[in-house]
């Protein structure tokens, strides 16, 4: 896999963010406000190194394909580590460092005045390093290392405001669910190592004689990891809660990069998946289900970040469906476009949240178009892109690749689900857009009139935030606006890379990366047809949203309408299909119950009880023997006499007497 060699740029781009993390962590108090620019600079230079590495990796490879490999060291024989740069890892690296850099810059403005400013950048840099480890590793254990470390970074950043109990709980939940995923990957590694005796991708993919059933088991276990990290059903429940973290974190980790690691994993292991149709079916189905469920749940949310979180879950569902069924280019393309438009949506929502003093409930927004025109345009381009309006946004191109790919690989049901979900997506994104920006400002309306039952739970309570934010807005506004503006360009345009079918730059880039399956039959409908159907669904979605929230009569009595909708929201939606409750009962409470049984009953009563019984029986024996010990000389004499008599009788009878 790739040209063996020493690549200084590769090491540089990988280790720079780590250096940034260490510097920011160790010298945070001294750096003060310099921590932000410094942390951003490390990632920025890493991005430049990535671009240079891109050039270096194509050197000397026939056909201009990208491939570079550098060995590092080994743990024990069989556990060898190295870095691998191929089209797939290059794509991820570009996003991680590129979009990562923009979000770092944005964070300088967003986090300005926070007490733990340097700590934030240390974590953020650490995350970039961990994510790079994940995508650059040339083996499964290295991937798992990165996998665990991004989970840790995510944990730190979700629980960044660790004085908030809700943030602490959300962080723990995210970490534990992700460890469950790690464990899945770990088991896949066991199976791979037991059969291949190596953990390198190359060896595992080249190996053909896995015992029967093992390939499916390996794919299944890998996918448990992917599902946990990429918020697929039923392991998605941590993602909405993860929005407790600062908004730049949601943009970088919980939208653009980390949560797409599952897509990366499936795409990376494409040679495994291509050999097992059951695994493909499973992953594709879960992806499609997640896309649909995420979209439906997105319709019932009031917290702007939770709407975006469910939309992220749904979009990743698309990607997983794509890579699952074998449309790897499509799934990866959607990762690429999604990274831009979702980062932009989150950063845009961050501008709103920042401007409204940490208000996140869309019911208390409204009419913000006049107040925050830049945010409006940012959100609008993002919504256009995610909804898949033809040619106007990047999402259209990549989403169509996936939907069409599902059909081409023989999964008509997934095809249908993809189309329906596209419509729902357009609906809930426009719903968010219209409620937030159209009509009149409702921030001064009493929360109960808007149907907000627990105002203190609705968003991040402003007063607690004030502890962390000593002063708002010392940093210039352009620090937050410029990254968003830069992101708007790819959000609108980047999709054209995927335009043109076989001859597109996209197809060329990945020409030698993925296994190409020969189709049994050509797809029954053309791409054009699919695009039209999707467009119709999208238009319907937008139209419904417009009628309910955007059109003049709806906008006029918005307060009343929102109150009614809040109150009548079906319990199934407010409880997110009861996934949380189910996981809680099946895993959390069951473990606690067992733990209580063991710790409060079995340990002190039964096991220790058995030991105590042994001790007591020894005591009882002692009491028995003690009763002979009267202390009276005459008793002893009597006992001696009896003993002597018994002895004599025995000697006389049994031993046959004195000869």
């Amino acid at each position: 896999m790739g040209n063996e060699g020493t690549y200084p740029y590769l090491l540089l781009l990988w280790l720079l963010p780590l250096a940034g993390a260490i510097v920011n962590w160790a010298f945070g108090p001294q750096l003060k406000r310099a921590a932000g620019p410094l942390g951003s600079a490390f990632v920025g230079v890493s991005f430049i190194a990535t671009v240079l590495m891109w050039g270096a990796a194509t050197q000397g490879v026939p056909g201009g394909a990208i491939g570079a490999h550098q060995s590092l060291f080994s743990w024990i024989p069989g556990f060898d580590f190295g870095l691998l740069m191929d089209p797939l890892s290059l794509l991820w690296t570009l996003i991680i460092t590129g979009v990562g850099f923009l979000i770092h810059v944005y964070s300088i403005g967003y986090m300005d005045g926070d007490k733990a400013f340097a700590r934030f950048f240390a974590y953020l840099n650490f995350f970039v390093f961990a994510m790079l480890t994940l995508v650059l590793s040339d083996n499964f254990v290295g991937l798992l290392v990165g996998w665990g470390l991004v989970g840790l970074a995510s944990y730190f950043l979700i629980g960044f405001w660790f004085f908030k109990p809700s943030a602490v709980a959300a962080a723990r939940k995210a970490f534990v669910i992700n460890v469950a995923g790690d464990v899945g990957i770990m088991f896949a590694i066991f199976m791979i190592f037991a059969s291949v005796h190596s953990i390198a991708y190359g060896d595992a993919f080249a190996f053909t004689s896995y015992p029967s059933g093992w390939l499916f088991a390996i794919c299944l276990c890998l996918f448990i990891g992917a599902a946990a990290k990429s918020a697929q059903i039923p392991l998605h429940t941590w993602l909405p809660d993860a929005m407790e973290g600062p908004t730049p974190v949601s943009a970088l980790i919980h939208a653009a990069t980390m949560v797409t690691a599952g897509v990366y994993l499936v795409a990376r292991c494409a040679p495994l998946w291509s050999h097992d149709a059951n695994a493909q079916l499973l992953v594709g189905t879960i992806g499609a289900l997640t896309a649909l469920v995420g979209a439906i749940l997105g319709c019932g949310q009031w917290d702007i970040k939770r709407i975006l979180a469910y939309s992220t879950m749904s979009q990743i569902g698309y990607m997983i469906m794509g890579v699952g069924v074998g449309a790897y280019e499509g799934g990866v393309a959607h990762f690429f476009t999604h990274a831009f438009f979702k980062a932009q949506l989150f950063l845009g929502s961050g501008i709103i949240i920042h401007a409204l003093n940490n208000e996140q409930d869309v019911r208390r927004m409204g009419g913000l178009r006049a107040k925050l025109p830049f945010a409006f345009w940012a959100m609008l381009t993002g919504v256009v892109a995610i909804s898949g309006i033809p040619f106007l946004g990047a999402g259209f191109f990549s989403k169509d690749l996936i939907i069409q790919g599902a059909l081409e690989h023989g999964h008509p049901i997934m095809y249908a689900v993809g189309i329906v979900t596209a419509g729902i997506t357009a609906y809930y994104m426009c719903r968010m857009l219209f409620i937030t920006f159209l009509g009149n400002y409702r921030g001064n309306v009493d929360p109960s009139e808007l149907g907000i039952r627990h105002p203190e739970l609705a968003g991040t309570p402003a007063h607690e935030e004030d502890d962390a934010h000593e002063s708002h807005g010392r940093a210039p506004a352009w620090l937050m606006n410029v990254p968003v503006a830069i992101l708007m360009v790819p959000t609108v345009l980047i999709g054209w890379l995927m335009f043109g079918g076989e001859n597109s730059p996209w197809a060329h880039f990945f020409a030698q990366t993925f296994p190409h399956e020969t189709m049994a039959a050509p797809a029954p409908v053309s791409e054009m047809f699919t695009a039209v159907i999707v467009f119709v669904c999208v238009i319907i979605g937008i139209a419904v949203a417009w009628m309910r929230y955007g059109a003049a009569p709806a906008a006029e009595n918005a307060v009343e309408r929102l109150r009614v909708e809040s109150v009548r929201m079906p319990a199934v939606l407010t409880n997110a299909f009861y996934f949380d409750a189910a996981l809680d009962w099946i895993f959390v409470r069951a473990s606690q119950l067992l733990g209580t049984l063991f710790g409060r009953f079995l340990d002190p009563q039964v096991i220790d009880g058995a030991v105590r019984e042994t001790v007591f029986s020894a005591q009882w024996l002692g009491t028995l023997v003690r009763s002979f010990q009267t202390g009276l000389m005459r008793t002893y004499a009597f006992l001696i006499a009896i003993g002597a008599t018994i002895f004599m009788i025995y000697y006389a009878l049994a031993a046959g007497g004195v000869k």
């Binding site: 060291f73 080994s74 743990w75 024990i76 069989g78 556990f79 254990v141 798992l144 290392v145 990165g146 996998w147 665990g148 470390l149 840790l152 944990y155 629980g159 660790f162 004085f163 109990p165 602490v168 962080a171 723990r172 970490f175 534990v176 460890v179 469950a180 790690d182 464990v183 770990m186 088991f187 590694i189 066991f190 199976m191 190592f193 037991a194 059969s195 015992p211 473990s591 606690q592 067992l594 733990g595 209580t596 063991f598 710790g599 409060r600 340990d603 002190p604 096991i607 220790d608 058995a610 030991v611 001790v615």
Partner: protein, 475 residues
Amino acid sequence: MLVLALILLPIVVGLIMLVMPSRDENPVLAKSIGTVVAAITFVLALGSKDSEFSYQWLSRPFQAALHFGAGSISYWIVLLLAVCTFSAILATNLPRARAFIGHMLILEGAMMGVFLAKDLLAFALFWDVMLLPVFFVLLGWGEHPATAWRYFVYNFAGGLALLMATAAFGILFGSTDVIGRPDVHVIGAWVPWIFVGFAFAFLVKTPVWPLHTWMPLTYSDTPAPMVAVVSAVQSKAGLYGLIVIGMAFMPDYLKAYGGVFVVLGVISLLYGALTALIQNDAKRVVAYSSLSHLGLIIVAIASFNPIALQGAVIYIIAHGLFSAGIFITLGYVEEREETRSLVRLGGLGASNPKLAGALCIAALAALGLPGLAGFVGEIVILTGVFQAGYTWPAILALIPIVLAAAYMLRLFQGIMNGPQVEDLPVRKDLGWLEGIALAPIVLALVVLGVNPHALTTFDPAAYNATHVNQGVATR
């Protein structure tokens, strides 16, 4: 001779500290002397790799020698012991410091004797000696005398079994000067009993379920610096014994009882993890987590797989480091807040960021975060266990990894995160001396986590792990 110095130096200094008249109590001096002795011991330990000492002691009824030397496993454990003792003494802040540090040094010397012994009889004698300081500290500094007696009864029962097994071994084989010799195998009608005697002692000491009930009490009652050393190193004596005695001399019997060991190990893994989930005493959480983690090593040893054994050695060291780190940090917390109840504690991180960082790293290593030493041990062990054909144990052993994340985060977050508790005393953050105490442990965790190559000098083939299942699923 170097190895003899390793054993005698701490013991002699410790005894002198104990018998000195008690009126001139000077904790700073005692701590300095203890730290310096521990540091010297560490330096000596570094150079002890090829050092050996032997003195013929008994010739009847069997040959026995005071024979000491570092083997490929014991070298690392001895280093671990020296590091942990150094850190623990430096972290000591207790009343009657001189006597306490004296006990710590005696404990160190006795454990040096256990791990460096090349003679079974010397091993068994130092085994009993190493129990005494803990017993006396439990009596003198613990909260309940009953705990001390429980520790005493359990471990001396084990010690007695060990001594009897050693004697029987000596009579049967003619010599006890055998540890580290590759040519020694015993067979015969009595060997199963000898094996059971050794195994009982080792399993009580480790401990495994259901012989563990002394352990949570001991770990929560013993002062933090000593429990750091006990959980880090003393608990490894049983595992070390299983490898260098059980596996080396009686492989057939270890293999025959392998199923039992695996079952006990897996039960310990799950039982410890689930129980740790609901403990409210911070030290008990770690105690039960130890039960869980050490169960994994038992499984690794019983699997007879060379990869799992290499993982076991890595994990022995890793567990030593992170459990010492956690206990020392919890000691700091208890010193500051005068409680270790997770119900009472909370929000310390805001005013003690360094303390929070230290506990965080130790807890992360314990829950098997990739990049720290615990993860290496876990994944290498389980890869080997699975390769050896133990599919279900490997699957079941994955559950405690998830549970570990839950209980370790509960521990960390319960102490450090959340809103600050009003009525808890507010004390200074970690001082530089306290930081230095933790530094070597944290450093070693990171270095070994990134590259544990040094630890793999251990060759499982020397311990009869050669004729093992390397193929797939033969069992």
